[in-house]
């Protein structure tokens, strides 16, 4: 039936070899967009979470606003940002920062809330002030939950970068889309697998970083 059609395999080393330059270029863009977005989101989420931790009434509006942002579909969000930033990488980064905020703020707050009162009491008894308690006691205890948030945000961001294809800056999404438009199966699957691989690799790296940041938990596990 399909005897006349040229072979269109889902994977071919020939494709990988012939297009190693493109693959490398878009993988790099994908990685840079991810790291930029998560880093900026962390810089914003961290102070916001600390503020909400200090002033409890801020918690509900903060989680409400980030929650609404999270519910807006990515294509629509890029559409809202596009008139300001055009067909640039910036459109993608701004959108991805907005998505990462919810997870990061929520996990940081949950981590700080999860610090046992006994621990706080003990620190206060030892004469710790508010600032020193935060840095020396509360943040280290909250670190596993905070890092869990960073990992979820990173993996989701890697997946979402592909939607940046709508403004021409989707990292490996560009190749997925190009493969779709030219019905080139090998290109679609290679780029897809690289995206999944990048997400999982960053997740493993962050897991290792978490362990390195928390030497005290190593002996326990």
């Amino acid at each position: 039936m399909a005897a006349d059609e040229p072979a269109n395999p889902w994977f071919s080393w020939q494709y990988v070899q012939d297009n190693s330059g493109d693959l490398q270029h878009y993988l790099q863009q994908h990685l840079i967009l991810t790291v930029e977005s998560v880093a900026i989101a962390m810089l914003l989420a961290f102070p916001l979470a600390l503020l909400a931790f200090r002033f409890r009434w801020l918690t509900t509006p903060l989680l409400g606003i980030t929650g609404v942002l999270y519910t807006i579909p990515s294509l629509a969000l890029f559409g809202f940002i596009y008139p300001f930033t055009g067909l640039t990488e910036r459109t993608v980064v701004v959108g991805l920062v907005m998505y990462a905020l919810l997870v990061l703020v929520r996990n940081t707050l949950a981590g700080l809330d999860g610090v046992p009162d006994d621990v706080r009491e003990a620190a206060r008894g030892m004469g710790y002030g508010r600032g020193r308690m935060l840095w020396k006691v509360e943040l280290p205890v909250a670190l596993p939950t905070i890092m869990a948030g960073v990992r979820v945000a990173t993996v989701s961001t890697v997946a979402l970068v592909t939607v940046g294809v709508i403004v021409g800056n989707g990292g490996l999404g560009q190749l997925i889309f190009r493969g779709f438009n030219s019905d080139y199966h090998a290109e679609i699957l290679t780029a897809s697998l690289l995206t999944v691989g990048l997400g999982l690799a960053l997740d493993v790296l962050l897991a290792l970083a978490t362990r390195a940041l928390m030497p005290w938990s190593r002996s326990r596990s």
């Binding site: 969000l77 008139p83 979820v152 997946a159």
Partner: protein, 253 residues
């Protein structure tokens, strides 16, 4: 801002509300794609999760499914399905979205059944109930609030993600945004964005109300404690299947 004005002009143009590319038809298409996807996912995930939860096996399995699925870009899966024999357009979209709706349904149903007080199950067994009766008359009713949370998460996610179908030749409201980008028309892009965002938020609000209806007072009160209305998201491999019972809630609290 002129783009916003253009968006309202677009939304007020009667021509955009008629025919197969009109807003009502695209909205309907968006909703039936989403409904089918969640339905298929529920038929697959729920019996499996109930069985796993009832026997107490497979906790690790649900965690792995959830974590791996997070790393797979929806766009990739949509494209792969659209490029295969499964077909162009809505059928491919429905299947791809169903795949993404399975993890929240699986995790929440599983955790819902596992979270049933063991004493209650023990008492039911002591009264002579069979395994099947324990599942259908004790565990399932008590798991309903968490199952409802899973349905809500899955449905909101699917409605949001269905927008991407337009990129690979599918239908739904994403078509408006995609066409807008194709024509470099910011007004239309924003108009489409407003419609899609409104539909996603409406789904979230309606299902949050449904979830409230089926959740007994005790757990509703629990959520208010501490001002945090959400459980933290468990990181991949953080251990334990976390119920995704409240991602960024809008309507409640």
């Amino acid at each position: 801002m002129s783009s916003l004005n253009d968006a309202f002009v677009w939304l007020n143009d009667p021509l955009n509300w008629q025919g197969p590319q009109g807003v009502p038809h695209l909205t309907w298409e968006h909703l039936y794609i989403s409904g089918f996807a969640v339905g298929i996912a529920a038929v697959i995930a729920m019996p499996l999760a109930l069985a796993l939860g009832h026997t107490g096996r497979g906790g690790g399995f649900t965690v792995v499914v959830t974590n791996v699925s997070r790393a797979i870009p929806t766009l990739a899966l949509l494209t792969v399905f659209s490029a295969t024999a499964i077909g162009f357009g809505n059928r491919a979209t429905i299947i791809a979205l169903a795949v993404f709706a399975i993890p929240p349904l699986l995790t929440n149903t599983y955790v819902g059944v596992r979270a049933v007080d063991p004493d209650v199950v023990e008492a039911a067994r002591g009264m002579g109930l069979s395994g099947w009766a324990v599942l259908t008359r004790v565990e399932l009713p008590l798991a309903v609030p968490l199952i409802a949370a899973g349905v809500r998460t899955a449905a909101v996610q699917v409605v949001a993600t269905a927008t991407l179908a337009a990129l690979v030749g599918g239908g739904g409201l994403g078509v408006i945004i995609n066409t807008g980008f194709g024509q470099q028309d910011p007004g239309q892009i924003i108009a489409g964005g407003i419609l899609v965002a409104a539909l996603a938020l409406a789904t979230e609000i309606v299902l949050a109300l449904v979830q409230r209806q089926v959740t007994p007072g005790r757990s509703r009160g629990r959520r208010a404690v501490g001002g945090l209305d959400a459980a933290p998201l468990a990181g991949p491999g953080a251990g334990g299947a976390e119920p995704d019972n409240d991602r960024g809630s809008v309507a409640v609290s």
